[in-house]
């Protein structure tokens, strides 16, 4: 126990921390990264709260950074968490832009959003935008039933989503009741079929011992593994799965026309009133509904629907298995109404016992 070993060991420790600081700061100044610290934030760095998973949207953000030279600082979390966080932050929010997984979560914070500049989202059909012009849809997706093709034939599957509460699916169905997309579906169910039908459906899932997953991706995994046979998800998750494992026994089943199970929802983007980089934020929104749409059609692995009217997917081989977005007749639900319904839907899901 002399002084020397202490000093000789302390020095490397301090050096290590210094190197770490250097690494972080150094990487932060790279143009193509998303991991800079606050201190390295410059005037052209836009803060994005992303309710969509990094894996799915990071390439899109990178494309934007390449094209515009604007740096993005992206914070990832579930969409409802981001929405709640924005409410908690109130008028002090550091966020410039909120990109939400669904119309409900962004609708829940629409009071915090400023109007989009006129004309920017004109190419997006009105049904996929906020009535009052505060947010716009970026990509379209259809709720669907994923099933295990080893265990089931298409003819085994219910024609309407309410059919999954049939006892024959007991223990064989997976759901993600706390995921924004599921919550939005419950909102649509309540609006289209009424509170009682929605409650009965959720209680039916509980009675059927539905297996609970945190998100859509793990449901598709579980279906592929045979842990469950069917699951309620968005249509694009199987493509992510098939990209990793081309032989995974999974397929989508769309319900009959007009069924609430075919809800068309959108990922949606809006600019915060508190945004300190308005011009750059508007550029990002503009990118999402213009150049970004090509990327979604041609390159993005998950095959979501582009929303702009000019995008042509009919002749695109990547979309050959998918019905056109407007041909899958969904329920008659206005996406702008979903935000106001979010809290009540969450309440109902909790009361049913599906997520306590």
């Amino acid at each position: 126990m002399t002084a020397r070993p202490v000093r000789t060991r302390l020095l490397p420790c301090i050096a290590l921390v210094a190197v770490a600081a250097f690494t972080v700061a150094g990487c932060g100044s790279d143009s193509d990264d998303s991991g800079s610290t606050k201190s390295s934030k410059d005037d052209k760095t836009l803060v994005v709260y992303s309710g969509r998973e990094k894996k799915l949207v990071d390439p899109l953000y990178e494309r934007f950074e390449e094209e515009t030279g604007i740096n993005l600082e992206v914070r990832y979390a579930d969409s409802p968490e981001m929405a709640a966080q924005l409410l908690e932050e109130g008028d002090k929010s550091p966020a410039d832009v909120f990109y939400s997984q669904d119309a409900g979560a962004i609708g829940a914070v629409e009071d915090l959003l400023s109007d989009l500049p006129a004309g920017v989202a004109d190419q997006v059909p009105a049904e996929y935008r906020d009535d009052k012009g505060r947010w716009t849809g970026v990509t379209g997706r259809i709720r669907t039933l994923v099933y295990n093709t080893d265990e089931l034939e298409k003819s085994d599957l219910p024609s309407g989503v309410l059919g999954v509460t049939d006892p024959k699916w007991k223990g064989k169905i997976g759901v993600a009741p706390t995921n924004a997309s599921f919550i939005a579906f419950v909102s649509a169910l309540r609006l289209a079929e009424g509170e009682d039908a929605a409650r009965e459906f959720l209680e039916g899932l509980v009675a059927n011992e539905a297996k609970i997953y945190p998100k859509n991706g793990p449901i598709v995994d579980a279906v592929a593994k045979g842990e469950v046979q069917i699951g309620l998800v968005n249509h694009y998750y199987i493509y992510e799965k098939l990209a990793n494992d081309a032989n995974a026994p999974v397929a989508n089943h769309f319900f009959q026309d007009g069924d609430v199970g075919n809800l068309v929802n959108v990922s949606a983007i809006g600019i915060l009133k508190t945004a300190s980089h308005r011009k750059e934020a508007e550029q990002l929104v503009d990118f999402m509904v213009h150049d970004g749409q090509d990327f979604i059609v041609e390159e993005a692995p998950e095959r979501e629907y582009p929303l702009v009217v000019s995008a042509d997917i009919a002749s695109n081989p990547r979309y050959k298995e998918l019905p056109p977005l407007d041909a899958t007749e969904g329920p008659d639900v206005d996406l702008s109404d979903l935000g106001a319904e979010l809290e009540k839907s969450v309440q109902l899901i909790r009361e049913s016992g599906l997520a306590t």
Binding site: C13, V17, V24, G35, E81, T178
Partner: protein, 527 residues
């Protein structure tokens, strides 16, 4: 010094500002069931860790187990694997359609016992927290006074009776302290229960916070969780107060007694330590390596390595600053406690130790409420992340620093002062060099724990700031386990460094010179 109280104060503020309706909505429902499940899990984890750690400690301290020094070190190694990484790897090995099932399928095995759920979480938490108990109990066992046991044997007691009446009482406080540590760990754990889908308190809190649009409910539940934890801690302090004094008064034993010959128990003993090691160390690491290899050469390795280096920088920076700050803060508190004990220092000590009982998720929530209301400049900064680490892990640094100061003879300091060195000079040239190893051990321990921390890091980090823990968590969120393997393995490799300095080197040193000094390593094993 009141910083550790901030999260709790703000939880109270946030929960208090919630209407009675919110309280009602939160507290009705299956809350009792969830509380009972969380407590049962903690209790069984504690029991499980004792069941592994006490026999193991006996084997490596007192028996003639072959290669027992090696087994003593191997027993501590699972500490380098964060429990949620362990859970992930074990699910990969034993979960539905996991590696084991693929192997067994040709033999007609279609279903394995369920990994998900209470049982799975229990096993995983025991496997990755038993080393806490083992380190404490083994260290205590080395200090036990064997003359009592000898006397008991001399009076005709059987070896078992002698152990129970003479040795066990000397080990009791270490066993309880270690088991409490793993129980608290299990009670506050977030990663394992989330991965294995067990509905516990922390999972409920995160669900409300993250998915159900209900921050008030999260604050209320967080507060309830804190209250339960504090009650448990208070009871523990009452029960063990006497024991601890006795343990402190005891000096290092020079006589460790004769080795107990295992005889025909040798093979079962070896099987026992091997099986535990297989599940807690070999299989998890094997699965991670297997996953990493399964990615193959796909051209994305440059990106992958860049990403993991950046996360590594984030981990080293945050955990490193957290460790340095903790070590620096622990020093004055420890000096007060050791050299000028009194009412105020003991209040400070209680406040500091309360941070230990605060689950990471709850600390993060409290700090978020604090920052958004009172200190927005701290919000989403590296500083608030470091504050969270310090609040939660300062007790580790304090425990180690205090223990090492207690071994510094005050007469040396007096002599130095008498010879004209001032207070600062004495501290720098006498106290610090003597207490240095303990201070470093404390800092290392904080570093090791902070590297593995997940929930507070997820919530408090600056936007875009990745650590190894958050990176691998993000990969598991999209079920991409092979991609999680690289950050996981880097995390394990880095964690091995402080563990080496903390446990393995000191223990090896003790083994080499057993009879000379009290083990410096035991102070670092957690308190």
């Amino acid at each position: 010094m009141l910083v550790p109280a901030i999260p709790i104060v703000y939880l109270v503020v946030r929960a208090g500002s919630a209407g009675t309706e919110a309280w009602h909505a939160t507290l009705e429902g299956d809350l009792v069931g969830i509380a009972a499940r969380s407590l049962l899990l903690a209790l069984l984890v504690a029991a499980g860790t004792i069941a592994i750690a006490v026999p193991w400690a006996f084997l490596v301290v007192r028996s003639d187990l072959p290669a027992r020094r090696v087994w003593g070190l191997v027993g501590a190694l699972p500490l380098v694997i964060p429990s949620y990484v362990g859970a992930l790897a074990l699910v990969g090995a034993f979960g539905p359609r996991g590696m084991l099932q693929d192997l067994l399928e040709p033999l007609g095995v279609e279903r394995l016992p369920e990994m998900y759920g209470f049982g799975g979480a229990l096993v995983v938490l025991v496997l990755f927290t038993y080393p806490y108990v083992l380190l404490l109990v083994a260290a205590a066992w080395r200090r036990t006074d064997v003359s009592l046991e000898r006397a008991a044997r001399g009076m005709g007691r059987t070896p078992w009776q002698a152990f129970r009446s003479a040795t066990l009482p000397q080990l009791r406080s270490s066993i309880v302290a270690g088991a409490l540590l793993s129980a608290l760990y299990a009670f506050g754990d977030f990663g394992v229960v989330s991965l294995l889908r067990v509905d516990t308190f922390t999972r409920q809190i995160y669900l409300r916070y993250g998915a159900l649009f209900d921050r008030e409910g999260a604050a209320i539940l967080g507060l309830v969780l804190c209250v339960i934890t504090f009650v448990v801690l208070l009871v523990e302090r009452r029960v063990l107060r006497g024991d601890r004094r006795a343990a402190q008064a005891r000096i290092a034993a020079r006589d460790h007694g004769e080795q107990v010959a295992l005889g025909r128990w040798k093979v079962p003993a070896l099987v026992f330590v091997s099986v535990v090691t297989a599940f807690a160390l070999v299989i998890p690491l094997g699965v991670l390596v297997w996953w990493l290899a399964s990615i193959g050469a796909d051209g994305a390795w440059a990106d992958r390595i860049q990403a993991v280096l950046q996360s590594m920088g984030g981990s080293l920076l945050a955990a490193g600053i957290g460790a340095l700050v903790s070590a620096v803060l622990a020093m004055p508190i420890a000096i007060l406690l050791v050299r000028a004990p009194g009412r105020l220092p003991s209040i400070v000590e209680t406040v500091v130790y309360s941070g230990y009982a605060l689950p990471g998720l709850v600390a993060a929530l409290g700090l978020t409420f604090f920052a958004t209301r009172a200190a927005f400049w701290l919000y989403q900064s590296l500083a608030i992340l470091v504050i969270a680490y310090v609040i939660r892990f300062l007790p580790q640094a304090l425990g180690a620093t205090r223990a090492s100061l207690e071994r510094v003879n005050p007469a040396l300091e007096s002599a130095s002062r008498g010879m004209g060195l001032g207070a600062w000079g004495t501290f720098r040239r006498v106290t610090l060099p003597l207490a240095g190893p303990g201070v470093l051990a404390g800092a290392m321990l904080v570093f090791l724990t902070a590297m593995k921390e997940l929930p507070a890091t997820l919530i408090l980090r600056p936007t875009g700031y990745e650590t190894l823990a958050t990176q691998l968590w993000a990969e598991t969120n999209v079920s991409d386990y092979p991609e999680a393997a690289l950050p996981a393995l880097v995390l394990v490799a880095i964690s091995a460094v402080p563990l080496w300095l903390l446990v393995i080197r000191p223990v090896a040193g003790i083994e080499a010179a057993r009879a000379t000094t009290a083990p410096p390593g035991d102070s670092g094993a957690g308190d």
